[in-house]
């Protein structure tokens, strides 16, 4: 069974081919020109997706050595994300499935992130706990079985990756904020500034990063920091390291506590923030200390990618789930 997976929900245009439990190709273009604008620009994103979708799908098929006539189904993300961007991949995917007279499968982007740990062996065993952390999402999900998800908690305000982006903007260190902070934090002292750890109520699985963002803002204001002037790189590194430590502490604490409570053996993380080197390092230590088997996607599967969509589509088709061609883009789609 051969599946073509398409992902265009934000700023990556990506397509992948997945056959009989094995990934054959994963072609991705990241729209780097976004960095000039300090973020993802929706109209630019959807226009770029339009230009890139055909060459990327061609690349994925060519890399896999697969003719389009031998595909059994097309899977594409139908939400959540930027409406104009989702529509490009979704409409293309539906049209291709219609033309080839094969099934189409709409995939929830949040489900796809969970599948980023189910693309290749070793894979977590059900039930497992997954934390998806990205620019737009922070979700803790108990995965009981294929397609059986229990959303334990999510952010009540800003996503973790969004907090990274906004703090990077306050510091004037560029976009993407996550990787800039990760890089600069390596030179800083994580204990230099005691930023708050937003744990919320005892036992809560919800997240909140808006208050932490505001604390960084007030700290910079108190110090008289001016991002437009030449700044002490040591100071910026300390702010980055201290802010990053606060985010990582909260993410890990909530993941481990939920894993203990729900008695799972395997834990996983996914999403763009799971590429953060400090989060990966601390997760490995904490998982070992608490006897959990930890699954972290390889870097190319952390950010948005077609491989996770194709893997999810493969399992959906194998379990007999396909979508109607009437399926629409849903920017607020829930898991």
């Amino acid at each position: 069974m051969t599946i073509l997976g398409i992902e265009t929900s934000c700023d990556e245009t990506s397509a992948a081919v997945y056959k009989d439990g094995r990934l054959l190709s994963n072609a991705t273009v990241v729209q780097l020109f976004h960095s000039q604008h300090g973020g993802v620009v929706p109209e630019l994103a959807s226009r770029a997706h339009l230009k890139l979708i055909i060459p990327i799908v061609d690349d994925a098929l060519k890399d896999a050595g697969v003719e389009k006539e031998s595909i059994d189904a097309v899977a594409a993300v139908n939400g959540p994300g930027l409406i104009g961007s989702i529509l490009v991949g979704l409409s293309f995917g539906k049209a291709m499935a219609m033309g080839l007279e094969i099934p189409f499968i709409g995939i929830n982007h949040m489900e796809a992130h969970i599948f980023s740990n189910l693309i290749n062996e070793p894979k977590p065993s059900f039930p497992f706990l997954n934390l998806t952390v990205s620019g737009g999402h922070t979700q803790l999900v108990l995965v009981r079985n294929y397609f059986q998800y229990e959303l334990l908690g999510e952010t009540i305000d800003d996503a973790a990756g969004e907090a990274f982006d906004k703090v990077a903007k306050m510091l004037g260190i560029g976009y993407p904020g996550g990787s800039q902070i990760d890089k600069l934090a390596k030179e800083g002292n994580p204990k230099a500034i005691a930023f708050p750890r937003p744990y919320l109520a005892e036992g809560s699985h919800q997240f909140s990063f808006s208050g932490l963002k505001t604390s960084v803002l007030y700290y910079l204001r108190k110090i008289g920091f001016d991002k437009t002037s030449v700044n002490d790189s040591r100071f910026i590194a300390d702010v980055c390291a201290s802010f990053q430590a606060a985010v990582v502490d909260v993410l890990i604490d909530k993941l481990i506590k939920a894993a203990v409570k729900y008695k799972v053996k395997d834990i996983s993380v996914s999403g763009g923030v799971s590429a953060n080197s400090e989060l990966r390092r601390r997760l490995k230590l904490e998982a070992k200390a608490n006897n959990f088997d930890l699954f972290i996607p390889e870097l190319s599967f952390c950010t948005d990618n077609g491989a996770m969509v194709a893997a999810a589509g493969y399992e959906r088709l194998r379990h007999g789930f396909t979508s109607s061609l009437e399926i629409t883009a849903e920017p607020n789609l829930q898991l």
């Binding site: 109209e43 409406i83 999402h137 009540i156 800003d158 969004e162 963002k213 604390s215 803002l217």
Partner: protein, 149 residues
Amino acid sequence: MTGTYNTKSAGETISHALLFGGTLRRGDVVALYGDLGSGKTQFVKGVCLAYNITTPVTSPSFVILNRYEGRDKKNDELFVYHFDLYRVKSTAELYDLGYEELLQNNGICLIEWAEMLGGLLPERRYDVRLSLGDNENERLIEISGPDKK
């Protein structure tokens, strides 16, 4: 509910916004202004409470637009559209979102970083300006509109 208010916590900002939300009518547009961390999303949370919205109200910086389903005082369905133009750099980029139709429908539109729309903002609207107080949780909220433009 126009005027100037000082709030001492995020909770107080939400309470004020809830009272303000209760005075809004279908078709109203609320433009929100204020720096990063000034409490715009908290204010939107409060307005949404006035319409019994149960889904989480989160920052739409990433998706630009969230739509929440609520109920008005007669228990009829009402949509609240929550825009966040933080990442948007030119108004031409907004046509994809169909923002013009949303500004003219019978829901309620709340727009963070509304300065981005400039002259495209409707004349009849509320302006809500949030700024930081001296202490970490204090905010100044100035509400004007909708008819004194």
